[in-house]
């Protein structure tokens, strides 16, 4: 009998994730210390951990590392997503610092959970095996379920957590079932080996059904129609800082896994998924934008708008090739900064001692606080896709990829959708700039960290809008090896 041979333990490719996990552990330990330690240090440690992970990630750019028998693949693709995820998480930490204190929910668990969720996202991006996909997804999702219910005394927060958990668990079971069927068909869960095993017999019904179930699971995580129902309630009910993480980091990570599975595993699959994705993209962006028009809660409106943005990104996925998929990566980068910025403004606005979440709360904000109003206006204009902000270039790459791949009508639907979107985004601008404040005024809650986060996000959307080429080229270079 052969002795079980353990694969050599190579931790290098896991390093960014390990740093984040280590800082999470440190945060939990600090909580046991005296009050001055447990009060101020955890947030700093979390931020330091994320920045360190970001630096390590940037330092590894261009190197491809594999570990644990190809279960972890830290290639440029994963590194690109690590950057997006680390930025998203770092912005979340900055935005949370004063926000939590103000809402009386500051605790070490919060920071640890944010870090655990981040580690899960980074695992997802680097997963070379369906088991790691599942592992990362659950690590991320379970942390987020708890975070969504952070405001224990608020009904909406509890509802959000429960809804997120139930529907999320439902989606996870689809995913596991899909993984099981694929394993049944291919005899392996490693993405590379599945591709080899299924070469020439991709019509195997087990395999096709398995992949379909996987897509359902991912569709839920990226909140594409018809699996989007949870998003508005969760985005609205969860603490706004957590909403940022759900809307940006978790979406990016789910896209990372989706792209890797689609690109590596479905390559050469004759079953035509493109018609399905075509319809999915068109319906997702249209439903997101049309329903967003009717929302009076700003968080809920942004939730529907984020659904619409998923629809745009599906176009890039459909168009395929380094151009199309690279456009999705670039779009996620721009979308992360823009969305984090828009939600970030909400965390800094207060009305009548409560968070200002209604669109109407922003009436006349330009008079009260011109800088904050200008910041929110710029984020919204970037979401519309007005040049020279990042959102425009992101859309330009996506729609360009669609036109190149021959999906002309989908591009037409998409641009008309952006015109629809302009209506509801501009409605907020109308209220902020063109109406006078009335009743209890919305006030700005000073926060150095929050201001810093908004400044970073603003600089990013201007930079990505004016000199997009280097970043878009990086995104394309990151996906090109996957698609080869």
């Amino acid at each position: 009998m052969d002795a079980i041979t353990f694969p050599p333990v190579v931790l290098g490719p896991l390093l960014p994730t390990l740093i984040v996990l280590a800082s999470a552990a440190l945060v939990l330990l600090l909580d046991l210390g005296p009050r001055w330690i447990s009060r101020d240090l955890p947030a700093g440690v979390a931020l330091a951990g994320l920045v360190a992970a970001l630096l390590v990630t940037l330092g590894r750019w261009g190197t491809a590392g594999r570990a644990f028998r190809d279960m972890i693949v830290l290639d440029n693709f994963a590194l690109f997503f690590n950057v997006v995820i680390c930025y998203a998480a770092a912005l979340v930490v900055l935005l949370s610092m004063d926000y939590l204190r103000r809402t009386g929910s500051d605790s070490a668990e919060y920071w640890a959970l944010v870090l655990f969720a981040t580690a899960g996202m980074m695992l997802l991006a680097a997963a070379g095996d369906l088991v790691v996909v599942f592992l990362g997804l659950e690590l991320m999702s379970l942390s987020l379920y708890v975070l969504a219910g952070l405001f224990k005394r608020e009904l909406a927060s509890g509802e959000a957590a429960l809804k997120y958990f139930l529907l999320g668990a439902f989606a996870s079971s689809f995913l596991v079932y899909g993984i099981a069927l694929i394993y049944g068909a291919a005899g392996t869960t490693s993405l590379d080996r599945i591709a080899l095993a299924m070469a020439g017999r991709t019509n195997d019904p087990l395999f096709v059904i398995g992949v379909g179930l996987l897509l359902v699971g991912f569709g839920f995580k990226i909140s594409s129609v018809p699996f989007h129902m949870w998003a508005p309630d969760v985005y609205q009910g969860a603490p706004t800082s957590v909403t940022v993480l759900i809307a940006t980091g978790s979406k990016a990570a789910a896209f990372a896994a989706l792209i890797r599975v689609l690109a590596v595993q479905l390559r050469g699959v004759p079953a035509d998924w493109s018609a399905l994705v075509w319809v999915g993209a068109a319906v997702t962006m249209t439903v997101g934008n049309v329903v967003a028009i009717a929302q009076s809660n700003l968080k809920r409106m942004l939730a529907y708008s984020s659904i619409a943005h998923v629809g745009y990104m599906l176009i890039g996925l459909l168009a395929g090739g380094p151009g199309g998929v690279g456009a999705v990566l670039f779009y996620l980068l721009t979308y992360t900064f823009t969305t984090a910025g828009a939600f970030g403004v909400i965390t800094l606005c207060e009305r009548a001692r409560a968070e200002a979440v209604d669109v109407a709360d922003y009436t006349g904000l330009a008079r009260r606080h011109p800088v904050l109003a200008a910041a929110l206006a710029l984020f919204l204009l970037s979401l519309i896709g007005i040049p020279p902000l990042a959102g425009f270039v992101g859309k330009f790459y996506l729609f360009g990829a669609a036109v190149r791949a021959g999906y002309l009508w989908l591009a037409v639907i998409a641009v008309l959708n952006s015109a629809v979107a302009a209506y509801y985004y501009l409605r907020v601008v109308v209220l902020m700039y063109m109406r006078e404040p009335e009743g209890a005024a919305t006030s700005y809650v000073p926060s150095f960290a929050g201001g810093l986060a908004l400044t970073i996000a603003l600089l990013a959307i201007v930079l990505l809008g004016v000199i997009p080429a280097p970043f878009a080229d990086l995104a394309q270079a990151a996906v090109a090896p996957l698609l080869r």
């Binding site: 007005i386 015109a419 080429a469």
Partner: protein, 500 residues
């Protein structure tokens, strides 16, 4: 040494506008002066463009070409030819006047207003100088937002409705153009192996006539037709013009509408010549309908500003008519008419704004007999009104005459109908002038009106001088444009005959 004059002219106002944001808002006086100074320096910088421009050269001059997004084939490519030169000058000329006209009219958030106006100027100039489709689209979309703020924040009572309508209308038109730009880009790339958004390269491309070219033409034409506005896409215009503050109306009528007609000249004609010929009769007919319809509707307006707004529909109809004659006289006439309309209608808006500042009414019925109270104002108003209705000796006549000469070569009947537009223009403008200026003083409130202030003289004299100058010596302007127009016509003809 790369030429940077054009970039300096284009970006100076915007950069100045952004810099102004750092001056404390309560120092409104200083902010106004600095903003006016920036716009005057921009105008001064643009004068060498006119004097250094070689009218005999049909190509682009003052060109700058730098890579921007090399992997996509996007470059920062700007330059002007005889077609864009006059529009650049019109923009830099009108902006100081608009800012000066808002000296007393805008009291609220002065800093925001002047900064927005200056950023808008950069957007408009960018549209006229861009020789790269990507760059053009960036400016085209970006300038929507400052105009939206100008109407929505500083406009009249119904300003929000007007601002949102303006943005949504224009945006629907322009997003489809984006798809067409992308389609053109890939079609050219597939055919030539070189993927680029560079306009001079793309205009060399002889595209097969047919559905593809027609759809692209329609997508571009929709964006431009809404901006012009060509009947029946004009319904945003009366709202936007009436609600906008005076300075906003001047820029809107003076420059923004020209971006639509300029778009037809710069993009539709050379890029899609077969489709231009195919859809020419339709546009021709719509232009004539717009001329007559705009004039009729103007006649019955009780509000002076609305009257001027609808008269724009009519006047821009003449420009479109001239462009789609596709002959030398028509095109040159259309081009001159663009400038004329910018001057005359800009001046009309300025003067209606002056009355409004005094009386807080724009209703024709509230006035009468102003001649006795404000003689200087009435005299200048007469010149502007006569220029707008095309009196020989003033600028309007030159443009309309050339357009009609061109139009009669195309279709005698339609040209004859269009000519009636000139008669109706005389009707609605003179009738309005008569009711406002002549007769007895019908309202006591009008007895105390003040005549032109030195600031208003300073605003109006340059416009009136230019109105007379173009009327007496149009050659100073047509001379710069004729070769470029000839080259454009030759290009359209060679490309359409290549496909026969």
């Amino acid at each position: 040494m790369p030429f940077v004059l054009l970039s300096a002219v284009t970006f100076l106002p915007g950069a100045g506008g952004l810099a102004l944001l750092f001056i404390p808002g309560r120092r409104a006086g200083i902010i106004r002066v600095v903003a006016l100074a920036i716009s005057l320096v921009t105008f001064a910088l643009s004068l060498p463009l006119y004097f250094g421009f070689d009218g005999a050269d049909p190509g682009y001059q003052f060109e700058e070409h730098r890579p921007w997004m090399p992997t996509l084939g996007v470059s920062y490519h700007v330059g002007i030819d005889g077609i864009s030169l006059l529009l650049v000058l019109l923009t830099t000329f009108l902006m100081p006047l608009a800012l000066a006209s808002a000296w007393d009219g805008i009291e609220d958030r002065v800093k925001g207003f002047v900064a927005t106006m200056l950023i808008l100027e950069t957007g408009m100039l960018g549209v006229f100088v861009s020789l790269d489709l990507f760059l053009f689209y960036v400016f085209w979309e970006a300038m929507l937002i400052p105009m939206y703020f100008i109407i929505g924040v500083w406009g009249g009572p119904n300003r929000i409705y007007a601002a949102v309508k303006f943005v949504l209308y224009t945006m629907v038109g322009s997003v489809l153009m984006l798809v067409a730009i992308l389609a053109l880009y890939y079609q050219y790339g597939a055919a030539s192996g070189r993927y680029t958004f560079d306009l001079p390269a793309l205009t060399q491309f002889v595209m097969a006539p047919g559905l593809g070219q027609n759809l692209m033409f329609l997508a571009f034409a929709l964006a431009f037709a809404i901006k012009v506005p060509l009947f029946p896409f004009h319904t945003w215009l009366p709202d936007a013009h009436v609600e906008a503050p005076t300075a906003g109306s001047v820029i809107l009528a003076g420059v923004l509408l020209k971006m639509g007609t300029y778009g037809f000249l710069r993009f539709c004609l050379p890029l899609f010549p077969d489709a231009t010929l195919a859809f020419g009769p339709v546009v021709f007919a719509l232009a004539v309908i717009g001329i007559v319809y705009g004039a009729w509707v103007s006649t019955v307006q009780p509000d002076m500003k609305k009257l001027v707004a609808y008269s724009s529909v009519s006047h821009l109809g003449f420009v479109m008519l001239g462009i789609f004659t596709l002959n030398q006289q028509g095109l040159v006439g259309g081009l001159i008419q663009m400038v004329n309309h910018g001057l005359s209608t800009g001046a009309l808006f300025l003067m209606v704004g002056m009355i409004y500042e005094r009386r807080h009414s724009r209703l024709i019925a509230d006035f009468g007999g102003l001649w006795r109270v404000v003689p200087a104002f009435s005299a200048l108003f007469l010149v502007v009104v006569l220029s707008s209705l095309g009196l020989p000796g003033l600028n309007g006549f030159v443009g309309e005459f050339l357009v009609l000469v061109g139009a009669f070569q195309r279709s005698v009947w339609l040209a004859a109908v269009a000519t009636s537009g000139i008669i109706f223009a005389a009707v609605y403008l003179l009738w309005m002038y008569q009711r406002v200026i002549f007769g007895e003083i019908s309202h006591e409130a009008n007895r105390a009106l003040r005549d032109l202030t030195p600031r208003e003289w300073a605003v109006l004299v340059p416009v009136v001088a230019l109105i007379v100058w173009i009327g007496v010596y149009p050659g100073a302007f047509t001379g710069k444009t004729e070769t470029a127009v000839e080259a454009l016509i030759a290009q359209v003809q060679s490309k359409t005959s290549a496909n026969r």
